[in-house]
Each structure stands twice: as structure tokens, then as C-alpha cells.
């Protein structure tokens, strides 16, 4: 099977409210998808469900990763199989140092010898002994997430708004790291503004609207339509053509 990730007819809810409706998405090895959509359309829910968050309940459908049904698997098992997620808003954990988490990430990715190199590359030395994400600036939180992913070296990346809340200069750095991470790998990037697409090449764009996939197409064309007409009109046009 060429598909590294297959999402089949996925229906997901939280607190009895349905958020994702019959989502189908096939991603092949080496492909990267950009995921667009307005707030509350289900983008983050999709990534969190793929990662195995117990907050979300799967009513129907399944998730296949590298040919294995992972729908019921625990998060750490999925991660050991090669899934990696970058949070938009990672939680602040008092008393747990970034250094400690990096050790776990490096052990997982077999990159123990790379820790120092990556830390230096991202200029993160001063954050190593800080409680993870506590008092981190927007840019620092993003870099910390990317540093962890670099060390975990996952086969499939899920990046939730890597370009939100950071200045243009930082986006360039973040883009560069994402390109490294995606080299020969596959992934999904959620982007609200599309800024990151100036630095990262993606193969397809997907629009999520009200919990459904409204269309799949050329990411730049989709972005142009969204910028010109807004999501509602974009989704309407897309759905009309489906």
C-alpha cells in the first residue's frame, strides 16, 4: 500500500457534539497536505484524533497508519510507530524541564547524539532548564515543538499552525526546519494564514468546513480563492463542484 495514512469515513465528537463528519483522506508516502479552514471547522480535532486524544470520541470510521489500523491504539504506541505532532498551543507543565522531554524525544528517535547540535541550531540553550512552555514566547514555543520533532524524527508530521503568533523572520526559520523535517517524509500542515506556504512546499490543499472535507486541490489556488472570497464562499464553490 502506498498510502502512509488512510482516514476512512471518520466521525468524531466531543461531549456528545459531532465535530468531524465522514472524513476521508488518503496521504501517500512523500506527500504533504495543507489543511485550511475557518476556526472551529475541525482541523485541530482531526490532528488530535489521529494522535489518539481521549478527549475525542470516534463514533465511526478508522485510521490506518502504514497499513495498520491504529484507531484503538494508545497515543504513545502511535508515536512509536512514527507519528509526530506539533502543537499550536502546547500545555505548560510546571516542574518538567525541556531538557528532560528532549531526552525522551531523542531516545525515541535514536538521535541522542544530535541533541546539542539541534539545540544550538535553534538557539535554545537558554530554555533547556526552564519548565516546558512556562513563560515561553510564541516563537520559543514553536521552536521548542520543532526541536522535539527533530529529535523524534517521525515519519509522518502533523503541524498545527506553525505560523501563528510568530513574526515573519521567525516564520522563515520555522519554514526551514519544517522543510528539513519533511525531507522524504509525509505530513499535514494546518495553516490559517498560509504564511508558511511561502517557505514550505506542499502537494495538496484541503479545505475543512463545518467538520467535512469541502475540497482537495492545488494549495495555492485554494489560498487565493479563500483570500478573495472567504471560506464560506470557497466551501460553497468547492461543494458545488464536488
Amino acid at each position: 500500500m502506498k498510502d502512509v495514512l488512510r482516514i476512512v469515513n471518520l466521525c468524531v465528537g466531543v461531549d456528545g457534539r459531532i465535530i468531524l463528519k465522514n472524513v476521508n483522506l488518503y496521504i501517500q508516502k512523500g506527500q504533504t497536505f495543507a489543511l485550511f479552514g475557518p476556526n472551529g471547522s475541525g482541523k485541530s480535532t482531526l490532528l488530535m484524533t489521529i494522535a489518539g486524544s481521549s478527549k475525542y470520541r470516534i463514533y465511526d470510521g478508522r485510521i490506518m497508519f502504514k497499513g495498520v489500523d491504529i484507531t484503538e491504539k494508545a497515543t504513545d504506541e502511535r508515536v512509536r510507530m512514527g507519528l509526530g505532532i506539533m502543537y499550536q498551543h502546547p500545555p505548560k507543565i510546571t516542574g518538567v524541564k525541556l531538557r528532560e522531554i528532549l531526552k525522551h524525544c531523542a531516545k525515541l528517535g535514536g538521535t541522542e547524539d544530535k541533541i546539542y547540535e539541534y539545540v544550538k541550531m535553534l538557539n535554545m540553550e537558554n530554555l533547556l532548564d526552564r519548565d516546558v512552555n512556562v513563560g515561553f514566547s510564541g516563537g520559543e514555543a514553536k521552536k521548542s515543538e520543532l526541536l522535539q520533532l527533530l529529535l523524534m524524527n517521525p515519519e509522518f508530521l502533523m503541524l498545527d499552525e506553525p505560523d501563528s503568533g510568530v513574526d515573519l523572520e521567525s516564520i522563515a526559520v520555522i519554514g526551514e526546519v519544517i522543510n528539513d523535517l519533511l525531507d522524504g517524509k509525509s505530513g499535514i500542515i494546518i495553516t490559517h494564514t498560509g504564511q508558511i506556504l511561502k517557505f514550505v512546499d506542499v502537494d495538496y490543499g484541503v479545505v475543512m468546513y463545518k467538520g467535512r472535507i469541502a475540497c482537495i486541490g492545488d494549495p495555492r489556488e485554494i489560498l487565493k480563492t479563500v483570500e478573495k472570497y472567504g471560506y464560506e464562499e470557497c466551501a460553497r464553490r468547492c461543494l458545488r463542484t464536488l
Binding site: S53, S54, C105
Partner: protein
Amino acid sequence: MSEDFVDLRKVGIERDPSKRSASFMMVDESPEVGFSRGVEILSTREAIERYEWLEDYSWRLVEGEGDYDGYFIRVPRNVKVEFPVEACLLLKMAKSQKVHNIVIAEENSELNLITGCTSERLSGLHLGMSEFYIKRNAKVTFTMIHNWKRGNEVLPKTGIRVEENGVFISNYILLSPVKVVKACPVAYLERNSRAFFGSIIVGFEDSEIDIGNVVYLNGEGSSAEIVSRSISRGGKVFSRGHIIGNAENVKGHLECKGMIIGNGVIHAIPELEARNPNVDLSHEAAIGKIAEDEIFYLMTRGLSRDEATSLIIRGFMDIEVKGLPEVLKREIDRAIELVEKALV
């Protein structure tokens, strides 16, 4: 003496002259000085017999009377004791152990004291009364590790006087299930002196723990910080703190954080009392369970649920103590590891 039934290393007791400046051991009511260098260490009874002036120190900071034994430690003026001094109080055969300790750090001296209290008996009462005198410019770091058995009752009383520019740093760790621990050390701070009280308490099922600190900021410019981390796993934990600002430009901060694992009770009682308008007193208190989103986050980094829980509990208990010597930090880390193993 056979202390083979309990692991004294768990409460920080090494009895190794290459790691400690002095070693004291009290089994039931029999004291014994193992070795000492650079610091005077005697049994309290012996010290009171030898030094008449000790009357001015005995039963002055804690209420009480009577002729109990315990440890007397005195660091001479200008002496900085390099390795920690250790004192072990072991409840072995007796139904109760009453202890009277006196610690004097003379002017400009420095002492690190580790006290380990433990029991071989499944039940029994430990009553420790301790008086600490920290003279001008002296610094005492006091680490107390408790490892009791389910039926033990522990009711210590402690008084601390910190003179001008003196520093007192205290860390208390309770490792094990116990029937009752009730302790509320009282500190009296003079001009520009400083005190820190850190405590890490775990309340297992059927344990009732009531721990607090009272600090009187009596001298101008004095400051105190009380930081507590309480975990309840079925037990009842009262976490108290009371800072009284009596003088100009004093500063006090209280931080009580509680975590309930499964069931249990945590009652945080932070109190601030200002008796002077120019004081800076503050507190923060929070109680909750382990956040699921934090566990999930760590699981997305490849940790199992148990590993993630363990790391979060470990982080919760990790109090940053300024001025803590590396060797004591290691003892505390080791004690926390034991707590962590017992919890997850």
C-alpha cells in the same frame, strides 16, 4: 545496634566520614555520637551538664520542660562546616521516643544538617522538640526526611530564631504512609534575616497530616518564603502557612500547591497578617488533579501514560530552593524518587 530492618539511606543517613562531617544516632531514647569533625556534637543531656550557659537556650524557643535527650550541635564562630552533619532518630523497641534537640550556629558560621527519622515499629509515638539558634551572619540548611510506618504518630515542635543577616533554609519531606503527623515550626526573624521553608508531603490512605509553618518577620528588612507541595492519595492533608509582618520593609510569600491522585482531602490554609503598613506579603494556593492534557502531551513525545504521570508528579514536587548545597539537592532528589515510585 542493629538498624538492618530499616534502610537509613532512605532518610539521608550515610554514616560515612567521607560524606558527612558528623554523625549522630538516637535509637529510642539512647543517643550515640558516631564521629565528628569541625563541629561540636553531643547528646543534649551531656551538653546541658557540661555547659551552664545552655540554660539560656534550653526550652526558650519551644514550650516545654524536662530532661530529654537528643542532639546538641554547635558550630563555632566563623566555621563553615564543609560536609553535612547527619542525625538519625530511630524508633525501634520503645512505644514512644521523646527527643530534645538544640542547634546553635554561632556568628558567621555555616551548617548543613540532615535529619532522618524512621521507625522499625509498626506503631509508636515520636515527639521531637527542636530549638535552632542562627546567630548573626550565620547560615543553616536543615533537611528533614521522614519515613514512618502506618501506625506511627509524629508530633514535633520546632522553634527557630534567626538573628541579623542570618539565613535558615528548611526542607521537609514525608515519604511514607503514617497515622498522624502534626508539625508547625515557628520562626522568629530579626533584622535583614531570611528564611525558606519547603515541604513535600504525601498523604497516603489512612494518613492524617497537618503541616505548616509560622514565621514572625520581627526585624526590619527580614523576609520569608513558605513553599509546600502536597499530594493526597487517599489521605487527609492540611497545609498551613502563616506569615506575620511586624516590622518595616519585610517581605513574605506563601505558595501552597496540592494535587489529589484518585481520592483524598487537601485543605490549604494560607494566612497573611500585617501589623505594619510597609510590608509586602503575598500568597498563592492551588489544588487540582493531574491535567489530562499534560499527560497526553507527554504521550505524544513517546512516554507511556505511567511514565508521563510519573514525570508530572516529579515536576510537581520539584521545589526550587535557592542556596541549597548540591549534596542536599541529591538527597532530596533521591527522596522524591522514592515518593514517585510509591505513587505511580
